[in-house]
Symmetry: D2
Subunit: 456 residues, 4 copies
Amino acid sequence: MFIERIKSPGIAHISYLVGDGTRAAVIDPRRDCGIYAELARRQGARITHIFETHRNEDYVIGSVELAAMTGAEILHGKQLDFAYGTPVGTGDAFDLGSARLSVLHTPGHTFESISIALADRSFSPEPVAVFTGDALFIGDVGRTDFFPGREDEVAGLLHQSIFETLLPLGDHVLLYPAHGAGSVCGAHLASREFSTLGYERLHNVVLKHTEQEDFVAFKRAEHHYKPPYFTRMEQYNLSGPPPLSGIAIPGPMSADEFASRMAAGMVVLDVRGPEAFGGAHIPGSVSMPLDHVPVYAGWLVPYDVPIGLVIDSLDQVTTAREHLLRIGYDTVSAYLHRGMTQWEVGGREFEGLPQVYIGEVKRRLDAGEEFLVLDVRSAGEFAAGHLRGALNIYLGDLPQRLGDLPRDMTITTFCGSGARASIAASILKQNGFGRVENCLGSMAACRSTECPLELD
Amino acid sequence: MFIERIKSPGIAHISYLVGDGTRAAVIDPRRDCGIYAELARRQGARITHIFETHRNEDYVIGSVELAAMTGAEILHGKQLDFAYGTPVGTGDAFDLGSARLSVLHTPGHTFESISIALADRSFSPEPVAVFTGDALFIGDVGRTDFFPGREDEVAGLLHQSIFETLLPLGDHVLLYPAHGAGSVCGAHLASREFSTLGYERLHNVVLKHTEQEDFVAFKRAEHHYKPPYFTRMEQYNLSGPPPLSGIAIPGPMSADEFASRMAAGMVVLDVRGPEAFGGAHIPGSVSMPLDHVPVYAGWLVPYDVPIGLVIDSLDQVTTAREHLLRIGYDTVSAYLHRGMTQWEVGGREFEGLPQVYIGEVKRRLDAGEEFLVLDVRSAGEFAAGHLRGALNIYLGDLPQRLGDLPRDMTITTFCGSGARASIAASILKQNGFGRVENCLGSMAACRSTECPLELD
Amino acid sequence: MFIERIKSPGIAHISYLVGDGTRAAVIDPRRDCGIYAELARRQGARITHIFETHRNEDYVIGSVELAAMTGAEILHGKQLDFAYGTPVGTGDAFDLGSARLSVLHTPGHTFESISIALADRSFSPEPVAVFTGDALFIGDVGRTDFFPGREDEVAGLLHQSIFETLLPLGDHVLLYPAHGAGSVCGAHLASREFSTLGYERLHNVVLKHTEQEDFVAFKRAEHHYKPPYFTRMEQYNLSGPPPLSGIAIPGPMSADEFASRMAAGMVVLDVRGPEAFGGAHIPGSVSMPLDHVPVYAGWLVPYDVPIGLVIDSLDQVTTAREHLLRIGYDTVSAYLHRGMTQWEVGGREFEGLPQVYIGEVKRRLDAGEEFLVLDVRSAGEFAAGHLRGALNIYLGDLPQRLGDLPRDMTITTFCGSGARASIAASILKQNGFGRVENCLGSMAACRSTECPLELD
Amino acid sequence: MFIERIKSPGIAHISYLVGDGTRAAVIDPRRDCGIYAELARRQGARITHIFETHRNEDYVIGSVELAAMTGAEILHGKQLDFAYGTPVGTGDAFDLGSARLSVLHTPGHTFESISIALADRSFSPEPVAVFTGDALFIGDVGRTDFFPGREDEVAGLLHQSIFETLLPLGDHVLLYPAHGAGSVCGAHLASREFSTLGYERLHNVVLKHTEQEDFVAFKRAEHHYKPPYFTRMEQYNLSGPPPLSGIAIPGPMSADEFASRMAAGMVVLDVRGPEAFGGAHIPGSVSMPLDHVPVYAGWLVPYDVPIGLVIDSLDQVTTAREHLLRIGYDTVSAYLHRGMTQWEVGGREFEGLPQVYIGEVKRRLDAGEEFLVLDVRSAGEFAAGHLRGALNIYLGDLPQRLGDLPRDMTITTFCGSGARASIAASILKQNGFGRVENCLGSMAACRSTECPLELD
């Protein structure tokens, strides 16, 4: 019997290949699904079942693509009208060799959410592990803010799913959730990627709220952001996304071609780090450090326009494209050959973005100099500690809030460590703000150096 | 926080890299230890600690080699006088970022055995997982037959370690043992490689014996074999084995060279499958299907003589050499270039070994024909079901028991599926038995076809 | 400027990625063409052109598949009416950075054959290398037997192409042909895969025939076999083969399923070595050692029936499938899980095939024992030396010649080293010949041991 | 017969594995020589001979290391008193299967330089290829400036070696030199890595000087730099370098540790690109873009002091260490964990380096603004075109020439494309120059935008 974890970085999505002998199932496959076929091949197994724990909203599900490749059957919850697959619910079970996969309806994150309990029938019909989708994470639970006006209802359902369906499986049951460290799907997610129902019962801070009322109140008080790209993901995942096979591979482009495409509307994502963007970048490009593509592209990049990449190394083309395909951006058409060097040796104008260190920011604050700290972290992060006088606009909301910013003052962008702030600074520059700089280190540097902070 | 499992096939030994942030520890490293340095490198961590759960007897421990490579400190139990490393015991703890590794003295398998509990201090000082070495496995417990005359004492200690030290850590604690599916260190090991203390408490058949007396009796009734190579492993692991760097890489050899080395005493291991050995093999070679090298070479191959390999593919040279180095055979000096083809096109004499299927064996038994079924499985396997009239000599004991076998009768070697039987048949042939054949399928084929079996 | 060789083993087909800067061309892509996209990606280049040196007859060309993936233009000779691509001829040239690829019409192997000369324009407009397709090889030249009744005409054209078009490019020009060591497309191919026009002019035995008449006579005297699968390849390569994306991945199958599919018409290819086939094989299966799949499947396996594989290791599934897809077999549907072991432990009947060594064959010949040596090598190999009394039937012709063989006599199959003979023996067994054995070592063993041979 | 090229980037050193059947030789192995053993393993061959074409001065030769691993014999020229190996000269020949390697004494680059001609004895005793070491390259010839006062003598020898020993082997002979595209060992090296003696005879600009006098004059007029590290390489390669096995693997370090080691003398190499260095870097660190490590570390980094790395990705640690080990820097002890981010979030001060584009430089020149363009290219590059008023100090000489620079003026560093200029700027900053900036794009940008240039 085998379980293999396949983690997609950035969105920190975790899918699983689980099976025994010659048969295997995949739980929540991502769109670039060749990896499951390859892992199954190495196990000497055939993929016969694909489970979707829910209609995902944060990435394109690969079920239809994988089913076409393997002939496997797609299974998902009953409470949503999917255009493909077979509805299943509590009581349905599927055997793969000694492994039995039993469906449990665990609504809350969404109405049709299911969990899948795994038993090793050669030992016991009782479960040894459970795949919980977005119901229960390691250190947190799923979001319950996707049904406006029904937040309390779904939070109540989630409480019931966790306390009445999942935890009763037993403290000793291993926990395999659909998101892990680094996900924006939970605020308290552990960096550790192994746990059990019992460990969560004891140490998951959200599960301290054992009473339903208390739990619902806790969830009601949470604040989450919903990126605009979720809408497209929901459509795709209800009806089945377009196949990958027709999507072209991005090729290298000269500086001249790149510039003329950009003039014609190509969006340029600069996936290098903030320091490199700070040293030299193409005017009008968006800073989008590679790790942040999966989370912030969906806020800031329109669909259906050509995307060009500025990269440091060829591998970044592949990674950036993977990140973007996983959230439905199928239009990555080119990258700047040899990266910025090509632009520079072409004699084309580039710009820098000044980077300041926290000591300088503190000095200015202490000296009462006039400048604006624009803190683009979430409201929750901001409330937990921020610089005096800082203005909080969440990065995802920035394009809509530009009118709230002064154009005659130095704006110092600020976030957790400087990466999101770099994205923000690039957007300000793109929109004609002339005096922009980025605070590398940002809040983390504040905490390291014990700056005085304000709380909300 | 990360845990990576590194499994060495054949002996089914499992070692772990565990750490957080920039620091990592290795638990029970194998001898070819570059893999730990590489995995740590990818994590961006430095290996600072090496734990030995006990003085291993079934493989060469890589601690000294790995310490030389990384500068890490070696830690092991106090009850044995190791020539290297630092003794630790219950109460000692080591922090690697948020991870705390706490030593628990868990004697039983050996007197100095330790387990290591892992806590995620960012959640709780209480353990989330435990590395149990050879104390507690998934589906079984460690052997307690290594101290002749003191079997009951050590079985009692093991009971205490499991029931008073390990299980009380909590049902929810994840279990990471030193052996997994395929190991000869336990008879009931699961094929599944994930479990918790709670799941074992409920479903591990050995742990049904909750009373110490009952447990000791159960352990006393077990029968294990102790291969002669264990003695060398124990010496090596007490004093530190020779470094790998001086050991030559085996090169290709012509059929003529191979034959003349063989004449001069080179032991030839034919690591191809039983079917290929059956079709054609070098007279005098030992059948040793690749997967069986880790377990049976130590019974049948003398130390300190040159070893030559007959292989199907070049990768088998690497794998066979790894297997052999892990159990202290440092004299693999050559392989037959292009395998048997080279021998064959050289016009050299080869031999076949007849392979019979179970239907033919049954037909002969039913017809009362005279032949001997030599069943080389363990006494326990034999007792649980065997063919009528079969003689049981454990494969490891065969070289010492040749005098018990008739030379004037067809001998049909027999085991679980035909692989060990192929080894046995090759030993018989090597020792001049003229009418030998192998039953491919063996007991598994019996069970598939519902042969009548006898029990002991 | 870069050239990368991509060799497909078995058919020993060589394709090339050639380019400079951001642009690259592929010459004669194989069907599984992801490798070219990946190599181009690593070079930071985009594939813009695909050249077909001729309508290949021995493998499925990947041009259409690769063009769909990259948007590249397909270019081929003018003398054949392809259903896709653009016709080109002498005088057409294409620039990729400093590289200039110039087309040369070099008919002979086929009428529309082209070569492509490569110049490094940063040094000289004169060529530094030439891609010769099937016109000129290292050690040999292309076949001229594909146009029945016009053999002399095409041989004359080939002479002209080599002596008037290619060799005049200069002794110093590097030679990159479409087939290499191991190909059946030439009898004298070097094992070495680097040469120049000058080295060939001096040392290629076929080019000793500098006079056209002499050259044509030499070519006329050659004897080649044309496997039946060439017909399908020619159709595919004229009209474009089916895409790979819809072809299912073969999965593991139990012994029972395998047996029942076989009963329903599935062809079983046993891709293990002859020794393993000799030890135990499924009755009715065809011995087809993995390396021989590309060359002999096309003679012996019908199209459009399901194919099942018997393998030694999972990698053989992938390799066998690749080999088969490259020659248009798209129906590999399953493999026997765990190979023969699965069959054996299922208690199913298997058979052996006796393997004899050359010493025994000689002994019998000397003793005048009655048996038939069936030599399945080509007529040319046979003529150059064979055993006394041997009957020569080329392996590819065997299914049509079974009526010529005695059913009441031991037949010893024989070839170059024993692999083709194993295939032949399996076909005899499949057709009810009861006394069949294979001579491992075969002619090579004869030569090693200085058997007396007869010439034709 | 096989030849495999192993190229070490940066120094563009090319070594070769050449062999046939079960035997192989390595020509000019690099220090990290496991790759040869692995390539030989895949060929099924044993490395029996190691050739050194000359006592290399630009990298550590791996012969002694590789001989220890394989038992191969080391062979080199007779005219130098090596502490290891066997002297060989013209007339000595070594057979590996069908391959014959014949030594040719080809002095000039050094006195003991040898070339190795390769014949395929199955075709002809005449050579098909020649390994020329540093005698003859593709597009250039070896340096002849290593013996002060004897330059003309050695240039004469080189002329003789090329025109009387190498070219007479025949136009059709393939050329395999010891350096390729990107090497500083020749000014005219092709980007193309395949050629023949004939192509060089026709198109190598240096070989236009067929008359010895003319050739010597041409070589006399060349200007080369000799980095100080060559001295250590020469010592190492005469006596044998220290083994790699004792050299520690660099581990991750916190910002605090890194800072305190730096204070204690650790040299910090920032191997990120110039843009990232421009955005933010550690005060006092040396900009050394990864690709430039092999060539410029040897000029600017002292031996025997600890080296710390600032990196963008973990792979850069491995690559930078390889580069440094190959030129004898064995003291890479640490890297900054997570790169600059770690420094920034630690709240530590960082600095930027302004990057200017060519348009701004031209504007200032046109406006007559006061600033100094410091052009750090070689004298030859400078002579071929430079900006008006630029000062030329070769990068390697910069530390010795700091006194020639004004401290009260903006200095704009300048080179071919901006990378060497970044190194130069970091050295100026390290030495207290306060107004330094780097011109990204540099001369290449000038040429793209058609700046007016001056010639010397």
